[in-house]
Structure formats: C-alpha cells, structure tokens
C-alpha cells in the first residue's frame, strides 16, 4: 500500500486536484479570480510535492514503472502546467469555464504521467488516449470563435488517425513477437520484416504527436486556432511528455532495431528541421510562426536521439526544461497581446518597444533562447543536443544541423527586428501586464538565464539518466 502511495504520488496528486476542482465547481459562488488563485496555489503545491518522497519501482505486474528520472520528468511537466496557470491569466480570467478547462488540462497531464510510466503497450495506448482527447476539447475552448472549433476538429481527427495507426502497430507487434511488455520485447525483437513494419507504425504515431515531418500538418492550424494556453500546452508539455516516452521506446524497447531507427531518425531530423525552418521564414501569424519554430525544435531533439546513450537522454530532458521556459514565455507574450488587443501578426508587433518595453524584452529573451544564442539557456540546450548527436554522426550531418541554427536565427530575428527596430506611427497601446503574468514571465526569464549558466541542473539530470 505504501509503495502504491509513494510510487504513484504524482498521479495521485493530480487526481486529487481534479476531484477538488470538480467539487468546487459543483458548489457555487467563486469568482474567476479567486478560482484561478486557488488553482495556481494547488499547482504550486503539486510541483513542490514532486521534490519529496521519491522512489523507484514498478506496480501492477510491470504495467506501471517509475524511476527517479521519470519522477523528475513528471515534475518538469508539473512546472510547465504551473507556469501556464500564471502566464495566461488574462485569458483565464475571461474564460467562462475555468475549472472545466483545468480539469481537462490536468486529465491530459495525468495521461502524460501514465504515458511516461507505462511498462506495456496496452498501458501506453490507454494513457496516450487520455493525454490526447482532453486536449482536443481544450482546443475548442474559445467558444465564440469558429477557428477554435476547427482546430479542435483537426486535432481530434488527426489524433484518431494516429491512434488507429498505433493500434495497428501494436497488434502487429503482438502478432510478430507474442508479447506487449516493454521488459520482454527487447529480448524477442530480432529485426524481422514484420517487426520492422510494426515498429514503423508505432513510429508514425509518435511522429504525429511530436509533429515530426511529414506528420506535422495539423500543428500550425491547431496552434493558431486554439486558445493560447492550449497551444502552449500542446507545444511544450505535450511535446515534452512524448519526447520522454519516445526515449524509452527507442533506447530500451526497440534497442535491437537500432540500425533501422538510426537512419530513419537521421533523415527525419534533417527534414523536420528544414521544413520547420523554411516554413517559419514566411509566416505572418505569430502563432503559426511559433508552430513551425516548434517543429524545427523537434528536429533538434531528434538529433540528440541519435546518440543512443545516456548523454542523449540527459540532453533531451535538459532541453525540454529550457524549452518549457522559453516557449512558454514566447506564447505568453503573444497570448497577452492577443487577449488585450486581438492583434496576432508580425506586422502588429512593429514598434512595440516604444509602448511595451517589458513585454518586448521578455519576448526577445525567449526568442534568443529558442534560437540558441548565449547567454540564454537555449544555447546550452541546443549545443548539448547537437553534441550528443554528433558523437554518432558524420561531419556532413553536423554541418547541416549547424546551418539550420543559422536559418532559425534569421526568422527569430525577424520578430526582434519588428519589435525593436521597425518604425510604426501607431504601435500597439500600452498594455497592463497583470501580476501573475508578470511573475510568470520573470520566472521564465530567470529560468532562461540561469538554467544554462548554472551547470548543476545538468549534472543532476545526468546523474538520474
């Protein structure tokens, strides 16, 4: 019983919060502001809880497994969700169904926790559904906007499609090997044709979730149409969770197929980076821009996967931590501007520095971190991803990856240029940055600056992996 409580603590804590919110919703009379404050408090507590009472082990006959690294990964997601609750306060306060929104978000988070901890393809499939379906509902939460329902529709259809492919892949795996347990699979996978085919199907499902090219088509539309916090959740938390389980799948379960997935990942990394970068160059809508930039970032994550060693795991977990700070800050600034003025294009940002220097510096810091420019943490994150991958790769590949860094700098600078350099007779009006948003942005900025310079965070992750 004690095992159950301690090992499943992250999941239990989130479940308790979900039920708490449900009961509060059933009772009545709580303003949005107070509700949000309560939620932020609970999420902070949840994050703090993630640091204590850690243990390793497995439950339910290997269906559920956890380790210190997994607990850390889950807590990273907790941190991200807490930051979201701060950063999008503008949108939350206007929302008509605040508790429901958070119940859905936490359900998805719960799904991701189980996903990270799954020790069996069945468990994997169930938690993947739990992590996806609520997000589709979250995408539909701008109830008055047509584009929001469209985003939700696209999301649910592509999710369903990828689930179908995944299920087919799982049945092939079972057919080819006779087991679906993560522990037993490595021993029975020998690289037979059917197994490779099954693996490709599983891989496609991952590719959908991580928006790896050519499975990325839903990304830009969904990011643009859904509410800002949903887009942020999808691009950061969801990407992070799937990257973590992808690590387990490739490094542990499908290790015998290393030769197959190595080439696959190498090609897809380059293609994903290039497509993300090239499309991001031309985007006018900030959210679409961030969508393609996040596709390019996934390309860099794939580079580190090539390392096939603990250094790859470390680099990816570290990068996700930095990515949480950087991308959330970028989405938050875009979200704040959107919810106060309704403006969403790069042109609207022209001359923004004259009226809103704070937001501009935060955006610039976030973009520099995404571009991987020092002294921001993004520099360290990107470099370690590339270094991890470079160990197993050719010079040509590393040069292509490094050149992609240059391309990506170009489009991040486009936004910076619009904000700081372009002249505008009528820049956007002065915006009030609410306290939670300000706090969240400052936390992100601190994260962006300090996570890189202070190396013990990296050392700690390395110790775990």
């Amino acid at each position: 019983m004690n095992d159950f409580l301690i090992l499943m603590k992250p999941e239990l804590a989130v479940t308790v919060i979900i039920f708490l919110l449900l009961f509060i919703k059933l009772g009545k009379g709580m303003s949005n502001g107070n509700m949000l404050l309560l939620i932020q408090g609970l999420l902070l507590l949840n994050f703090a809880l993630g640091f204590v009472l850690l243990d390793e082990g497995s439950l339910f006959g290997g269906l559920y497994k956890t380790s210190l690294l997994m607990a850390f990964q889950k807590n990273l997601l907790n941190l991200g969700v807490f930051l979201i609750s701060l950063l999008f306060a503008d949108w939350f306060k206007k929302s008509e169904h605040l508790p429901e929104y958070f119940m859905l978000m936490l359900s998805a988070l719960l799904g991701m926790f189980f996903l990270i901890s799954s020790g069996n393809l069945l468990m994997f499939y169930l938690s993947l559904e739990l992590a996806s379906i609520p997000v589709a509902a979250m995408a539909n939460f701008d109830l008055h906007k047509k584009i929001s329902s469209e985003a939700a529709m696209k999301m649910i259809l592509s999710s369903a499609f990828s689930s179908g492919i995944l299920l087919f892949g799982i049945s092939l795996v079972y057919g080819a090997t006779g087991t679906i347990s993560f522990d037993e699979l490595p021993a029975v996978i020998n690289g037979g044709g059917l197994q490779v085919m099954a693996f490709i199907f599983l891989f496609a499902a991952f590719a959908f979730k991580l928006s790896i090219v050519p499975f990325h088509f839903w990304t830009a539309d969904v990011y643009q149409g859904s509410p800002a916090p949903t887009a942020a959740f999808l691009s950061v938390i969801s990407k992070g969770a799937f990257a973590f389980i992808f690590l387990t799948a490739l490094y542990k379960v499908f290790q015998p197929l290393h030769a197959t997935w190595y080439n696959l990942i190498m090609v897809l990394a380059v293609v994903t980076m290039l497509v993300g970068n090239l499309f991001a160059l031309r985007q006018q809508q900030i959210r679409r821009f961030l969508a393609f930039s996040s596709i390019a970032q996934v390309g860099f994550i794939l580079v580190a996967l090539l390392s096939n060693s603990p250094s790859g795991t470390t680099a990816i977990v570290y990068f996700v931590l930095i990515y949480i700070f950087s991308n959330l800050a970028a989405f938050a600034v875009a979200g704040t501007i959107e919810s106060q003025t309704g403006k969403t294009t790069v042109n609207d940002y022209k001359g923004l520095y004259q009226s809103n220097p704070f937001l501009c510096w935060m955006m610039a810091l976030a973009l520099f971190s995404l571009a991987g420019v020092p002294p921001t943490a993004g520099f360290f994150g990107k470099l370690f991803l590339i270094t991890a991958g470079a160990e197993q790769a050719s010079y040509l590949f590393v040069i292509v990856v490094a050149l992609n860094l240059v391309i990506s700098l170009y489009y991040y600078l486009r936004i910076v240029r619009a904000m700081f350099m372009d002249k505008n007779e009528h820049p956007l009006p002065v915006m009030t940055v609410q306290f939670p948003v300000k706090l969240g942005l400052i936390l992100c900025a601190a994260g962006i600056v300090l996570t890189g310079l202070i190396s013990w965070i990296y050392d700690y992750i390395q110790l775990l992996s």
Partner: protein, 492 residues
C-alpha cells in the same frame, strides 16, 4: 591577479547601467566601469610582466579552473599569455573610448550602454578562455549586441546590414562549432580543454578536416576573403561606438581564434592549408585596398581598408614563422586602436557636417583643428608611417614573411607590400579632401571637439604612439606566447 575580475566588472557595470534612473547616471556608470576595466587591464599587464620577470615560464599565467558541465569535460578555465594580455589591453582602450564617444546618444541611452558593455564582456571572456566551449560561448555572446546596436542605433541600410552581419557571423560560429565538435570527438581524451588538447597530438586526418572549419569560421569574423562582405555594410551602418567595437574588438576575435585555436591546436592542418590562407589573405589585402580607392563615403573607406588591414593579420598567421605571427598580433592590436580612432574621428566629423561623403567636406582643418589633427595622425598610421603603430606591425609581418625563402612566399610578400602604395593613395586623397582646401560656406560655423571626444581621441592616440614609438614592449609581451605556438608548429 584574479582574471574573473575582468568578467565580473563588465557584468557589474552592465547591471549598474540597467539600474540607473537617468541618462546622465547611466553614462557615468558606464564610464566608471570602463575606467575600472582599463585600470584592471593595466594591472594585468604589470602583474604579467612581474610574473615573467620572476621567472615563471609556464605558457599560461593566472590560470583558474572551475567545474562547469563536467559531464562533457567542459570547465570554466581562464588563463592568459602575452597575446591575450595584449588583446585585453586593446579591448579596454577601445571600450573607454567607445563609451566616451557615445556621450551624446539620446535614443534609448540605457539600452545602448548595456549592449556596449555586454559586447566588451564577451570580448574579455573570449580572450581569456582556455576551454573551447567557453570560448565559443563568449564568441557568440557578442553576436546579438552587435545586431541590436546596428539595427536600432545605426543609419542607412541598417536592418539589412544588421541581418547580414548576424547571419554571416552565425554562419562562422556554426563552422567553428562543427570544428570544435570534430576536435572533441576526434581525440581519445574527449575534452574541450585547450591546454590538454595542446599537450597531445591530434590525429592528422582530424586536423585536416577541423582546421579549415575552424579557420574559415573564425576567419569570417576577421573578414577572410570571400566572406568579408559583412564588414563594409556592418561598419558603415553601425553607430560610431558600434563601428569602433566591431572593427576594434570583434574582428580581432576572429584573428585571435585563428591563431589560438586553429593554428596552435592543429599545426599540421595549418601547414597543409597555409598556401590557401596566404593566397586568400593576399587577395583580401589587395582587393580591400583597391575597393577602398573607389569609395566616396568616409565610413566605407575605413571599412574597406579594414578588410585590407585585417588581411595582414591572416597573412602573418599563414606565414607560420615566429616573426610573422608576432607581427600578426601586433597588427591586431595596432589596427584595433587605429581603426577605432578612425571611426571615432569620422563619427565626430559626421556629427558636425551631417554628411559622410568625402567630396562634400573640405577645409575642415580651419574650423576643427583638433579633430583634423587626429585625422592626420590616424591616417598616417593607417598608411604605415614609421613612428606610428601601423608601421611597426606591418614591417614585422613583412620581415617574418620574407623569412620563408621560397618563391611563393616571397611573391605573396611583395604583393602584400604593394598594397601600401595603394593605401597611401586613398588615405592621402581622403584626408586632403576632408581637411585641406577651401572650406564650404555651410561648414564655417562648425565647432571643434568636446571634452569627451577629446579624451577619447587622446586615449587612442596614446595607444598608437605607445606601439609606434616603442614596439619592443609589445613584442616582448607577445614573445613567449608566440614561442609556444612555434614550438607546436615545429614539432611534427
């Protein structure tokens, strides 16, 4: 002496600048920081000489090493030899002059000084790093301040120039990054530490791949032909202090990297490719000089002449003799001080005449005797008049080049020497048009330099004279460092 101070002082200055309430306080905070930096680097010079006098013969002095990402064998490893001390001294001279010359910047003063100081922080760190990763970190720290300085405070096609600069320099960094990773994975010891790497023999096939990557990557920063195109646009669009920092400090990052990282760590690669380096450098020297002849814009004149002058640095490195390498370092320092002063003077003139077209000026000696005198000094330095720093540096390079006895090196030396004639032509013509002749009616009421402009100019003129009149102290300073590099090159 604790080298960390040279990073912490600019950092503290940058933070202080951010915290100051008014523009005047910002300026004084920045100036105070710059003075402290100058004092520190002067102190470093004294401490370094005292340590060498006392018989310390290790390659690097004042070393300190702190744990930083031990998982990748990265460490926060600082240390200096004479070459670094010379570059640090140069940086602190240019910083204080740059801060003074920007005294009248009214647009976003706080941000301007913050970025300027951040740029200097990157340079100090770069010149002291003994770890490839740390070095790369500081190299890139400087890119974004440059971009913003040009893009926000610049003039002309500033957005285009800023983009071109940032992307080309990023491209250079990307090549450097690949070279560094290749070095890291190419050895058995798997470390980024430069001292450990220089103690072992890096396999020749690794050197053959990584040397060009590193050399071209760093070379882009120092206007290696044909990647020099960011130089004219970037320099001429940047605000005065921005040009001073770009030409005076940033371009030297490249030269220093070519020497310290590419050549010193991979001597066999350097030997393999030295012909190509010499050819490219000679082209840059001649092409830069001829291109300058065609310019009418005063800033473009100095920008293109920087391409030519920085070609000498690469030429000196490519010649691979001790004298030539010493000359290359001398040229870096000399050109840094000289070009910073040149840009400062051009900025002062532009402030008053509001034009940079040489043809539209004339007779300025009558109304601004101080500025014109400084212009003469810096112009003569640029064309290599004995007694000023340019002569000492270029002469050393030529002597060093001539030590290679074969026809190829001799021809390259002669070609490079010829550029001096061209330089004399464009410099004398430009100065003549600006300072001599009849004065335009619109220019009669112009005023001479202010106190801050005078101070900045005097500081830099002092630098030029100190190198030009008594180059031996700088040569002696650089000497042990050049010796160690030659030892590496000499050992097969």
């Amino acid at each position: 002496m604790n080298l960390l101070l040279l990073i912490l002082v600019p950092l503290a200055t940058a933070i202080a600048v951010l915290l100051m309430p008014g523009k005047t306080q910002v300026r004084w905070a920045a100036l105070t920081g710059a003075v402290v930096q100058l004092v520190l680097s002067g102190g470093l010079l004294m401490a370094y000489r005292a340590a060498r006098m006392a018989g310390q013969t290790t390659q690097m002095l004042f070393e300190q090493q702190h744990k930083w990402f031990p998982g990748w064998s990265i460490s926060f490893h600082l240390g200096v030899d004479g070459i670094s001390v010379a570059m640090i001294l140069l940086t602190s001279f240019v910083v204080i002059a740059g801060v003074l010359i920007s005294w009248n910047i009214e647009k976003m003063t706080k941000e301007f000084y913050f970025l300027l100081i951040l740029l200097s922080l990157g340079a100090y760190g770069f010149f002291m790093s003994l770890d490839l990763f740390l070095l790369f970190f500081f190299l890139e720290v400087a890119v974004i301040p440059k971009y913003l300085l040009i893009g926000i405070w610049g003039s002309g096609k500033k957005e285009y120039a800023a983009n071109k600069l940032a992307l080309l320099l990023m491209f250079g960094s990307a090549l450097v990054l690949v070279g560094i990773l290749g070095t890291y994975f190419g050895t058995d010891i798997k470390t980024f530490d430069m001292m450990s790497l220089s103690a072992i023999h890096i396999a020749p096939d690794v050197q053959k791949i990584c040397f060009p990557l590193l050399f071209v990557g760093f070379g882009i920063f120092t206007a290696l032909f044909p990647f020099h195109t960011w130089v004219p646009d970037g320099h001429s669009s940047a605000p005065t202090a921005g040009s001073m920092f770009l030409a005076g400090i940033s371009m030297k990052l490249g030269g220093y990297g070519c020497l310290r990282v590419a050549t010193a760590l991979m001597p066999e690669g350097a030997k393999e490719y030295s012909h190509i380096i010499i050819i490219l450098a000679s082209i840059a020297i001649l092409y830069g000089a001829f291109a300058t002849m065609m310019q009418r814009d005063f800033k473009y004149i100095n920008a293109y002449s920087s391409v030519s002058h920085c070609g000498f640095v690469l030429l000196g490195i490519g010649m691979l003799t001790k004298t030539a390498i010493t000359g290359a370092v001398l040229q870096m320092v000399s050109h840094g001080v000289m070009t910073a002063l040149f840009f400062a003077v051009i900025g002062m003139i532009y402030e008053r005449t509001h034009t940079r077209q040489v043809d539209e000026m004339g007779g300025l000696l009558k109304v601004m005797p101080f500025i014109s005198t400084v212009l003469f000094i810096v112009g003569l330095c640029s064309l290599g008049l004995p007694g000023l720093s340019g002569f000492a540096a270029e002469m050393t390079i030529f002597v060093g080049s001539w030590q290679n006895a074969d026809a190829f090196h001799r021809i390259a030396t002669v070609v490079a020497c010829m550029s001096i004639v061209v330089t004399a032509v464009y410099i004398l013509r430009a100065i003549g048009k600006v300072a001599m002749g009849p004065i335009k009616a619109a220019n009669v009421n112009l005023t001479d330099a202010n106190w801050y402009e005078k101070t900045a100019a005097i500081i830099l003129v002092a630098g030029i004279l100190a190198i030009g009149l008594a180059p031996s102290w700088l040569v002696n300073l650089v000497d042990p460092g050049a010796d160690f590099i030659m030892q590496k090159i000499g050992v097969k």
